[in-house]
């Protein structure tokens, strides 16, 4: 791949190597050594091979970074967006409070026949000292009972999420849930997602995947109508993304059985094994469920991306290729043909203003990759990118999976042993067909990661620290920086527009065709705004005073 076109930095004698050294210089030796392995200068080889990056390792205490915890990944990210599960946080009040409506997963409750929606509520056992000393199981049991008795209409599923102290005091949320499930006759299941587990939200994703797979997936065998049945995995309906995708799927004649977990319901999860193809959006947070579904039920998965119009078109074509139905293919092509002109029109209008601008993305476990496509459509260059909680496979591609060493922090996150279901296992395609499709350019179970798609000499930084953020901004002066809420106003104090890619700055949707247009407009507004020129007062620009004021 071509080296980064933007040579401004080199002109200033700032090579990526030098930038890296400058960033590390301030750190204590041990920290510098560790960070050196997490800051990599990209180089894509002939076969698409990239340098090794260290990822999914412990955060260095005191360094200040972006990451959250296991509970946030489990309750906040994966389970949070399902509207008809009563999610009870078992722990002191904070954890439940902070994950209350703060991720802006939208949901359309009126789309379910029963209209259940508990997402606007925060349920917590609000543990007190007494429970920390004597145990909180009794209170948890009672809390589940109260939720069941009191909510109107009654919930059909209750999830329980353990926070840090719960694990320490030895409360067994699973046995409480089991007991209450029997007692109440509804699905009650627990997650041991204490915040200290793993090294980031990522552990929580995995635990959530395991729990949902164990307790919900495959419990409803109803075969729903539809010729081309798909599940969408790793799409959380931030700002209505899922609604735009649902619109497109419907137009194409695809039947969406379930989404994990934007605009989702527990019945969708229960029934998801009846679909014929899994589409993976956010690889990091959900690939476990996809793997397990394949092993147990024979559903293959492909990696897709609906962020950017071209990626959306490409993904739709992949789906059509999978089903191999001429009618579907024609319909998909018709939809693309119908949707693209509006996108192109918007893009052509904006492109001259965004072309050549430079961007940095540090967010999540897939967005830092996906959004590069959108920026590319605007003619913008990614200077540097990295994940908050990605693993090596998210950077370098799944082909490095066998070589990833499992360390002490990951070892404790359970890997479920999954076997083909004696009755329900049903490979959707024969090995021959799978091979043919792969040959024809539809690879299964494959994700190449972020780095092979990025230019040489870009800086890939895992688990970016605050110090590195400030350095990157000072040295590169990007035109826009993408991260999360904690970084938002810090970056903007530097005088650089900052786009939140978790919450979209309360805008969106950005997925699909209409989403792309929204994004183009938002980025145009941000990088071309005159407001960034307001920072100096007239007297700061021209401080000299004349001896006497020259009246007109």
């Amino acid at each position: 791949m071509d080296a980064l076109e933007d040579i401004v930095l080199e002109a200033e004698g700032l090579t990526p190597e030098k930038v890296k050294l400058e960033m590390l210089a301030k750190y204590p030796t041990k920290v510098a050594r560790k960070r050196a392995r997490q800051i990599v200068i990209n180089k894509v080889g002939e076969t698409g091979d990239v340098p090794e990056i260290q990822a999914n390792v412990r955060t260095t205490p005191g360094l200040i970074g972006q990451r959250g915890c296991c509970y946030a990944g489990c309750k906040g990210v994966v389970l949070g967006p399902s509207r008809d599960i009563v999610n009870i946080t078992h722990g002191p009040i904070g954890c439940g409070f902070y994950s209350w409506l703060t991720r802006r997963n939208q949901t359309d409750a009126d789309a379910s026949p029963d209209g259940h929606n508990f997402m606007t509520y925060c349920f917590s056992t609000d543990m007190q000292e007494k429970e920390i000393i004597f145990g909180g199981e009794k209170k948890l049991k009672q809390a589940i009972q109260e939720a069941y008795d009191l909510l109107d209409p009654k919930p059909k599923a209750i999830g329980v999420f353990a926070t840090c102290p719960v694990g320490l005091i030895g409360d067994d949320v699973h046995s409480v849930c089991k007991e209450m499930k029997e007692k109440l006759g509804i699905n009650v299941f627990g997650f041991s997602c204490e915040g200290y587990k793993g090294v980031s939200q990522s552990a929580g994703h995995h635990i959530a995947n395991n729990g949902i797979f164990t307790h919900v997936v495959g419990t409803d065998d109803t075969i729903r109508e539809g010729k081309f049945k798909i599940n969408l995995l790793g799409e959380y309906n931030i700002g209505g993304d899922a609604f735009e995708l649902e619109r497109i799927f419907e137009k194409c004649g695809l039947t969406l059985i379930s989404t994990f977990s934007g605009n989702s319901t527990i019945s969708g999860f229960a029934n998801c094994h009846t679909a014929d193809l899994n589409l993976i959006m956010c690889h990091r947070s959900i690939n476990y469920v996809a793997d397990m579904l394949e092993k147990k039920y024979g559903l293959p998965w492909i990696k897709i991306n609906f962020i950017s119009a071209s990626a959306t078109a490409k993904s739709l074509r992949k789906i059509a290729a999978y089903f191999g139905d001429p009618e579907l293919t024609a319909r998909v092509e018709a939809v693309i043909a119908e949707e693209m002109p509006a996108v192109e029109k918007a893009r052509d209008e904006i492109y001259p203003r965004t072309q050549g601008k430079r961007v940095m993305l540090f967010v999540g476990g897939s967005r830092a990759h996906h959004y590069q496509d959108l920026f590319r459509e605007l003619g913008m260059t990614t200077l540097s990118a990295g994940y908050e909680f990605g693993h090596r496979d998210d950077y370098e591609g799944r082909n490095v999976l066998p070589s990833i060493q499992v360390d002490a922090d990951s070892r404790n996150i359970q890997e479920l042993e999954v076997h083909p279901d004696p009755e329900k296992y049903n490979p959707r395609k024969s090995p021959d067909e799978m091979e043919r499709l792969t040959r024809e350019g539809l690879p299964f179970n494959k994700y190449d990661g972020m780095m092979p798609e990025m230019p040489d000499d870009t800086m890939i930084i895992d688990d970016l620290s605050q110090y590195e953020t400030d350095k990157l901004i000072e040295l590169y002066k990007p035109d826009i920086f993408c991260a999360g809420i904690k970084e938002k106003y810090i970056v903007q104090k530097h005088g650089i527009p900052m786009k939140q890619l978790h919450s979209y700055d309360y805008g969106g949707p950005y997925a699909g065709f209409k989403g792309a247009v929204n994004f183009y407009k938002d980025i145009d507004r941000m990088v071309n705004s005159k407001i960034w020129s307001y920072m100096k007062a007239p007297w700061q620009k021209n401080p000299e005073l004349m001896a006497t004021y020259a009246w007109e």
């Binding site: 204590p28 412990r58 260095t60 205490p61 005191g62 360094l63 200040i64 990451r67 959250g68 915890c69 296991c70 946030a72 009870i88 002191p92 009040i93 904070g94 954890c95 439940g96 409070f97 902070y98 209350w100 606007t120 509520y121 349920f123 056992t125 609000d126 543990m127 000292e129 429970e131 920390i132 209170k139 948890l140 049991k141 109260e146 009191l150 909510l151 109107d152 919930p155 840090c164 102290p165 320490l168 204490e194 915040g195 200290y196 793993g198 090294v199 980031s200 002490a408 404790n412 605050q466 901004i473 999360g484 809420i485 904690k486 106003y489 970056v491 104090k493 530097h494 920072m535 100096k536």
Partner: protein, 459 residues
Amino acid sequence: MLLRHTPKEVTERSALTINPAKTCQPVGAMYAALGIHGCLPHSHGSQGCYAYHRSALTRHFKEPVIAATSAFTEGSSVFGGQANLLQAIDNIFTVYNPDIIAVHTTCLSETIGDDIPQIISKAKAEGKVPDGKYVIHANTPSYVGSHVTGFSTMTRAMVDYFAESSGHKTKTLNLIPGYSEPSDMEEIRRIASLMGIQTIMFPDTSRVLNGPLTGKYRMFPDGGVTIPELRQAGSSMGTVALGALASSAAAKALDAKCKVPCEILDLPMGLHGTDMYVDILRRIAGVNVPDSLTLERGQLVDVISDMHQYFYGKKVALAGDPDQLLAIAKFLVSIDMIPVYMVTGTPAGKKFEKALREVVKDAPCEVKIQMPGDMFLLHQWIKQSPVDLLIGNSYLKYIAKDEDIPLVRHGFPIFDRIGHSYFPTMGYKGGLRFLEKILDALLDRKDRDATDINMELVM
């Protein structure tokens, strides 16, 4: 409906909190610590807590909120977090170079039982704390109290660690502003300085969490109480602590430690609350109240009288922190509004509840108070018998929309509006702004509900 599963009938709950009217201690400790100049708050626990606390404060202030974490792993949870905190202290001073690190604990480190002072001593012994730099701490287990407790404890830690008596009293007065907005802190100090009184205020988040955009990011902005000031607070002639729950611990500690006497008042909200504050300042400092301040008071009285008809008899539901509830309830009663429902998640004690009941004892209807209570209960009460106005944080907007009741945002957190960082609701000017907000909400509603026939131009 947003809160479609909330039944009208109230049933007894003993274990389940729904839609809490409080959050956890560390966020309050972090907020207080940001009010020390050159301070980096540090969360001793796993990294989720600080991520959540920083996010919550960032959303509320729309400003950088910087803090660090010990980033516990499963191992540290078993063996204790000493190694993590030592490493953190070393890294923080090397990389970020604050003047002071203010450590607060979390549920996790409290449950483990980490001994923070011992770890700090060790850090010092190992040379990890550079000369002239400080590490202080507050124990903030979230299974006790609430964010208000955390604020109170960290504020008290400022006294415990720094205040010292020089042997003779200065003419300076200490102000402890309570868990209030940067704008309120500014206003509290402005009033004292209008009266010509020299003050030391701690914590002070003004010019930390309402800073300018200049194109230069500074991790440690201009604002905040300085360490020399905190030291001198021990020699001040007295302390005025505003809001008993958030401020009295520090004020009393200062009295015990340095013999600095204190007066503990309500938050200076509304006419009488501010009167009390100004009058105490006047008497302690032995100064006259300047005409400019008496003018501000008069303007507030003027607006109360001008618009009294719109306040009179209006029923209000409140959710918030105890100090704020008490001060707001008094203000509302003073203008003939009726705070009919009040909840706080913060356990503030029997004495406080009694004080609050005293405020509404002459109300012409039944008043419901629950503490600790939550917003789910508040909503149920409203479903049984509606109110004219809601006052509380942004989460109340879900009730406001479902029940179609106007809402005035006040307290923490406010995620969806600006203003609280810049415009106070304390002092006479702040009282005026608070009334303006109430009137805007009530009168906008009146306009909206007006028919073509009874629409009023002049109100």
